[in-house]
Subunit: 141 residues, 4 copies
């Protein structure tokens, strides 16, 4: 079942152009938990050479959405997300670890930690959370 | 002076690889307010063909940071940002309008609206806010 | 119709013990917008004599919920709210002005400004936002 | 040293009128972590008889501030806080467990879980986070 989950999530990941451009890679999936990685690429940097806040948010929001999808399926939309920038996102590789904090019929609460791997050490560089709406059809005009 | 501001902000914008890759364009700058635009590009899409949440966040966080920089200069770091996803970000062009809500010596509170231009109409697709720290040196290890 | 709205919202306000204890007063209601006031009381203060963050949040969250209720009725639950503390909340009286940013069938996005009246001048002391879920039954176990 | 911390934090807690009115009780303190409890009281309820969102936020923001104070001392101001309302806050007693996620010279990132004790079982009812500014003097006009 975990294999099925992983292949479902990898399929969603592959279908998103931005995910492919960034090089997002689904490392592991379990019910309510996903690990997503991305290698550094120069075009994802901000002015000082750290990972751009948009890509930081993209990793966190994507990992949170995937964690929710392992429990609720793909009919989900992010309603709100937030990011805490704890340290400059400097590294050769980034790993986002997301989990469902509280599942629900109408909404899913998720949270995520983002780690940077830099010169052999892993550092927590950001935390974030996403609140997703389980679509019942008709909303989001 | 507004011209100087605009050229300072455009210079920061040009120095960031992700901003160039996205095609971020500084439309206008005034003290405490910035307008930032981006044309659609396929590689910035999520699985359903809307603008990816990471790029939505990137536009909002960048416009907020630029608005803060017009008052506080470039020694700023985003500490926290959040995004409300009001509608699917569908369009040929996106415009983020950011403003400083409250300037301060240690921190700047900013807010932003993101509009999508789609088939001749402009729609509010997201709102967001960024809290920036004015660097005094030494923090952010 | 605005009168009916106001009396509906006042009725909800009166039914909440904390609102009565705080002295929350519904000043005005329109579709999608509510003004809520509170006089200073010593027991609502934090250690330095400003309005406690919990009461600041209570005013903002309540005003946002009331603004949403003017459009969606009372079957609403706050899912997420956030507050920016712009200035110390010092005053003899506080007024929260909330509005619906985006209504929806499943959720309502709202935002609010909180003003303090101190020695004859009104100052913006906090901003906040609340994301409310429109209950369809069954969730929120 | 933990005893000194606890008595410092209890002293701050006692100096705040709202904390005393709510009955906030500092259960335990360690460097970077605080446990804060509150018994139910009728005047803290919202319209349906659950703990009011303002009191939920008050518990979370206070516990977060205390956790930060164990590392940075009392010269702190909350800049931003947010709350996820996972379940109705129903119980005879509430316990907030807060921790510092990332300390810094200019700011402290904190997070908190709020549990309700109801008929012998403890349930997670809310999560939240507070970003605090370490005062260097002069700001927050």
């Amino acid at each position: 079942m975990t294999e099925d989950l992983t292949s479902l999530v990898r399929q969603i990941n592959e279908s998103a152009r931005f995910n492919r451009w960034c090089g997002f890679e689904v490392l592991s999936c379990a019910p309510g938990a996903v690990e997503l990685a991305m290698p550094w690429r120069d075009e994802a940097g901000q002015y000082a050479g750290f990972l751009h806040a948009g890509v930081v948010a993209g990793l966190i929001d994507t990992a949170c959405g995937f964690a929710a999808a392992t429990l609720a399926g793909p009919r989900l939309l992010a309603a709100h997300f937030s990011v805490n920038c704890l340290r400059p996102a400097l590294g050769e590789r980034f790993v986002a670890r997301a989990r469902v904090v509280k599942p629900g019929k109408q909404q899913m609460f998720t949270a995520c930690e983002l780690y940077a791997l830099h010169q052999g050490t892993e550092k927590l560089v950001a935390t974030g959370e996403t609140l997703l709406t389980v679509l019942s059809g008709g909303d989001k005009d």
